[in-house]
Amino acid sequence: TANERPRYRAEESSGRSYRPDCRTPNPFLIQFCIHPGDVVEFHGLEGTGKTETLYHLITRCIMPVQSGGLEVAVVFVDTDYHFDMLRLVSVLEGRLAEGSKEGDGSENESEERVRSCLCRLSVVHCNSSVQLLLTLQYLENTFSSQPSLCLLIIDSISSFYWVDRFNGGESTVCQEANLRKCAELLDRLRRNYGIVIFATTHAIMRNYASDPGVSEVPGSSSSSSSRRWRSADSTTDFDKPYLCKAWQRIVTHRMLFTKSHVSKDHKQVFSTACTSIMTKGVKRCLFHVMEDGIKFACDK
């Protein structure tokens, strides 16, 4: 029946293969107007929920359709050994338990289900920007041969920023060369294959709106950052875009993660504010991080 098949979305331009739409089990993507072929940047300080949101997306995509998932493949590129498989599995188990019927509970069965979900996830570890570039080249073949791959996640794309900056010497062009090539490659991937690309960047540059304090000096390479990403609210002054222009040009949505307030029942509330090049204004969303993943409390 129609409910059992993974949902495919026909692409507007000819030549693109049919790919599953990763928004189906992730309604919050629709709220932020994210379409296949978009590049979404998750920007924020440490501990603001970027990686948790990624785990939420991954579990929704790799879970079987009966549990509300999409049963599609995901590629996760880990650049700083940040990937916490045990955390992903506990989120996955939580969601599977929620979606399954009662009495379905033998331990072996649930392990089997987790394993079959994890088979759809591929994890790649890169430890330098050269390796990242070459790996993305290699992955291009994977994307063309596997039509069920609809999500590429890079966590995080800013890990090599300082090392590249030092290795490039005085020339900004040299410093940014590898990331520029990666950005061009990612642009090709999203145009040719209609996948959604999520990349996290660490917020390490201060905006210098107020006093500088003890912080990293941005230097000349990021002083002319793109104006379109100036966020509407300045609750945080750590949202300065610092990666190269080529990257900023391909990003279609930028989601700024911050720790918001502590709710009445002592739970930390996180907030994400999404700006995009296609729509005006800032769309916000609040969420909690629980034992078994993220719980949204969205407002329009």
């Binding site: 700083d80 394993r115 050269v130 300082w162 030092f166 290795n167 390490i204 003890v214 990293e216 930390q268």
Partner: protein, 331 residues
């Protein structure tokens, strides 16, 4: 940057390299980024270009691992090392996890080095595993370790055995730290595990002593070195299944709250962070509180109290929920 040279891969000889250089292609990444057919036309090279490209990609890319295999591997290789102190274990969700970096922060005199000693002694004596201790502050004192062991067992042989399992490296600047870590990664760790008793823990006390002098100003080198140290520690933790414990100093942020030193870029590196503080107006001067400031497994801002002198005892007085909130709002 990987420079194209003869011998980088079979099939690349001098004329090949000269032909590519005429098109301004000197590195592997330039070569791989080009369209092979266009390149073959421009350089009038044979289509064997494609085969060379495939071999180069195979050599230099990282390969995807299936999530299921990764999970299996992790289940069979992750271990949790108890710190020996029940309060600290509760905070860390049973102890130090292998494959991860745990960070201890605190102001001078808050007990970071003493905690490292106690954990090292517990791992070498109780768990009978080897500990690598990188000392950057000359804080390592073998007498103190012996004193701690003497409270655990009167048997001289056992004490000596445990002391032998703690290997100390002294480094005083970031370049020797990097060299030490790279040496460990390339041969030290395997040798240690072959010799009997596997290495399960690596401690660096302290990482900020060698890095903070390199940061600041407009130097890029300091940040790059910081990220390299972070990369080495993470690779060691992941590839050899070792629990890494590092210590860091604290600074005050805009609101006067304590936060870990070394800035935003370093804050992403550790998986779990604990802040140590002295207990004010306490009867004994060896009481400390540990606050969980970053964790992927437990709610943050849990506080536990413990006594440095009575490491294995559980503190009877537990901190109630109300006091936890007060702790958080205290500057």
């Amino acid at each position: 940057m990987v420079i194209l040279r003869e011998g980088v891969c079979p099939g690349i000889n001098e004329e090949f390299i000269k032909a590519l250089q005429s098109e301004d292609i000197k590195t592997v990444e330039d070569f791989v980024s080009c369209n092979p057919e266009e390149l073959a036309r421009k350089c009038s090279l044979s289509y064997a270009l494609v085969a060379v490209r495939r071999v180069l990609l195979a050599q230099y890319t990282a390969f995807p691992v299936s999530g299921a295999d990764l999970y299996e591997e992790l289940l069979s290789s992750t271990a949790i090392l108890s710190t020996g102190n029940p309060s600290l274990d509760k905070l860390l969700d049973s102890g130090l996890y292998t494959g991860e970096i745990t960070e201890l922060t605190g102001s001078p005199g808050s007990g970071k080095t003493q905690v490292c000693f106690s954990v090292a002694v517990n791992i070498s004596h109780q768990l009978k595993q080897t500990v690598f201790y990188i000392d950057t502050k000359s804080g390592m004192c073998a007498n103190r370790l012996l004193q701690m062991l003497q409270t655990k067992t009167p048997n001289m042989e056992e004490q000596m055995e445990a002391l032998q399992k703690i290997k100390v490296f002294r480094v005083f600047d970031v370049f020797s730290l990097l060299a030490c870590l790279q040496n460990l990664r390339s041969n030290g760790l395997q040798r240690a595990s072959v010799g009997g008793g596997s290495v399960k823990a690596l401690m660096v006390d302290s990482v900020s002593a060698v890095l903070s002098s390199m940061l600041g100003g407009k130097q890029n080198e300091g940040m790059s070195l910081l990220m390299q140290v972070a990369g080495e520690l993470k690779m060691i933790a992941k590839d050899f299944n070792i629990a890494v414990l590092v210590t860091n100093h604290v600074t005050k942020d805009g609101n006067g709250h304590l936060k870990a030193g070394l800035g935003q870029s370093w804050s992403h590196v550790s998986r779990t962070r604990v802040l140590l503080r002295r207990v004010e107006d306490a009867g004994t001067s060896s009481l400390r509180t540990a606050t969980l400031t970053k964790s992927s497994r437990q709610a943050c801002h849990l506080v536990e109290e413990f006594d440095l002198c009575h490491w294995s005892e559980e503190r009877r007085t537990s901190i109630s929920g109300k006091r936890k909130l007060e702790e958080r709002s205290k500057p």
